[in-house]
């Protein structure tokens, strides 16, 4: 499964953990997140990557999220992790 890589990075989200506090949306330096139209099971709107071309994978959203629901990562780092995985080596921690 692949998608077009529009920006330098992307986000991962566990939407059921999100409590809709907007920390990530308001602190993202490139303003690339927006609230979903949809609700999660608890009834909160969660962030969506509305402008993927602007995401740098800086993980500011991950630093702020009080619910451990989101984090950002660069495609470069993702590729490195993938390469390590393909080599069968131990995957080191992300940062």
């Amino acid at each position: 499964m692949t998608t077009e890589r529009k920006g330098k990075g992307t986000i991962f989200l566990r939407k059921e953990f999100c409590k809709g506090c907007a920390y990530c949306i308001e602190t993202c330096p490139t303003h690339c997140l927006e609230f979903s139209e949809e609700f999660n099971e608890k009834g909160y709107h969660f962030p969506v990557l509305a402008r993927p071309e602007k995401c740098t994978g800086c993980d500011i959203c991950g630093m702020f999220c009080p619910d451990f629901a989101i984090f950002g990562i660069t495609w470069k780092k993702m590729d490195k992790l993938q390469a390590q995985k393909n080599e069968g080596g131990k995957v080191e921690s992300r940062s």
Binding site: T10, L13, Y23, I60, F71, M78, S93
Partner: protein
């Protein structure tokens, strides 16, 4: 939720869950206890993110780290961390940590608790740990209130703020926490808000690495029992307010860093000094008096 379930609930742009990277905070969380109890927009979780990243930066052996909390919303932190963690009685995190450190001097011991727990019921322990300059780190989450018990006023509640036990507005003087612990003898004292995540992470790293008694005061929003009662909006409103309200003054005179909602909130590193540490002092004195009859305690390579 099991660790596996939790991991699989991450969704990313076109990347299957098995191929994902980890969120660094996940490594130190007890996944099975998530999601946590903190309210939407509570800042405590943000401090935990910074703590996880600080540990990662320090590259600490997690088997050699203990986190001790008292009681309160912040007191829940210990129970969520996948390290040796202790949820002690109200106000007694520091005495518990003192015993832990003295019994295991090689351990890094971090006390993670709230303003009420550490400065009200536990205030005496706080000043004496600083006086002794015991090598522990205190992460003090100051949300201006007793969150867990329904928003009673704390020794930190700013003048004029409404609390259940201050219905006409706070009229008592507050503790100036950096001044309190600096006067008692702390060797590292800093204050940041949850808005300055990178600085906060660095301060936590420095405090943990510092030998002696270190304290980081973290200003954090309690939307449910402090902000809303004072018509100050939601958590994110306070986070954005911190950006405007906080003024960084490293090395500021601790006499000038008392908090008022009408004055700039002074943040930064206020104290970073050297002072003999408790176990070193004990070793020095007992070796002097007892000579060969005394074996240095908790010391590697004969270094005191």
């Amino acid at each position: 939720m099991s660790e596996k379930d939790m991991k699989e609930t991450y969704e990313g742009a076109g990347v299957s869950p098995q191929d994902q990277a980890d969120n660094p905070v996940d490594r130190i969380l007890r996944q099975e206890r998530m999601p946590h109890i903190w309210c939407p927009g509570c800042g405590i979780g943000t401090t935990v993110n910074c703590f996880a990243r600080a540990l990662e930066k320090l590259n600490i052996d997690l088997d050699n780290l203990a986190v001790v909390s008292g009681i309160g919303c912040t007191g829940r932190v210990a129970g969520y961390l996948k390290v040796d963690s202790f949820h002690t009685t109200h106000g007694r995190a520091i005495p518990f940590a003192t015993g832990l450190k003295l019994a295991n001097p090689k351990m890094k011991v971090v006390v993670y608790s709230g303003d009420g727990d550490l400065t009200a019921i536990g205030g005496n322990h706080l000043i004496h740990a600083a006086r002794r300059n015991l090598d522990i780190t205190v992460i003090l989450v100051n949300n201006f209130t007793y969150g867990m018990t329904g928003g009673q006023y704390a020794p930190t509640t700013p003048f004029g703020s409404i609390q259940t036990t201050m219905p006409y507005g706070m009229y008592e003087h507050q503790f100036n926490i950096p001044k309190l612990v600096a006067a008692a003898g702390a060797v590292y004292v800093a204050r940041w808000t949850v808005y300055q995540v990178a600085h906060l992470t660095r301060a936590m790293t420095e405090a943990i690495a510092k030998k002696g008694f270190s304290l980081v005061e973290v200003m954090s929003p309690c939307p449910t029992l402090y902000l809303r009662r004072n018509r100050l909006g939601e958590g994110i409103d306070e986070v954005k307010r911190f950006k405007e309200w906080a003024v960084r003054k490293d090395g500021a005179d601790v006499n000038d860093v008392g908090i008022s909602r009408d004055k700039p909130l002074i943040i930064g590193k206020f104290v970073d000094i050297e002072r003999d540490e408790y176990i070193d002092l004990m070793n020095r004195q007992l070796s002097k008096k007892l000579g060969d009859r005394y074996t240095l305690y908790g010391v590697e390579n004969g270094e005191v």
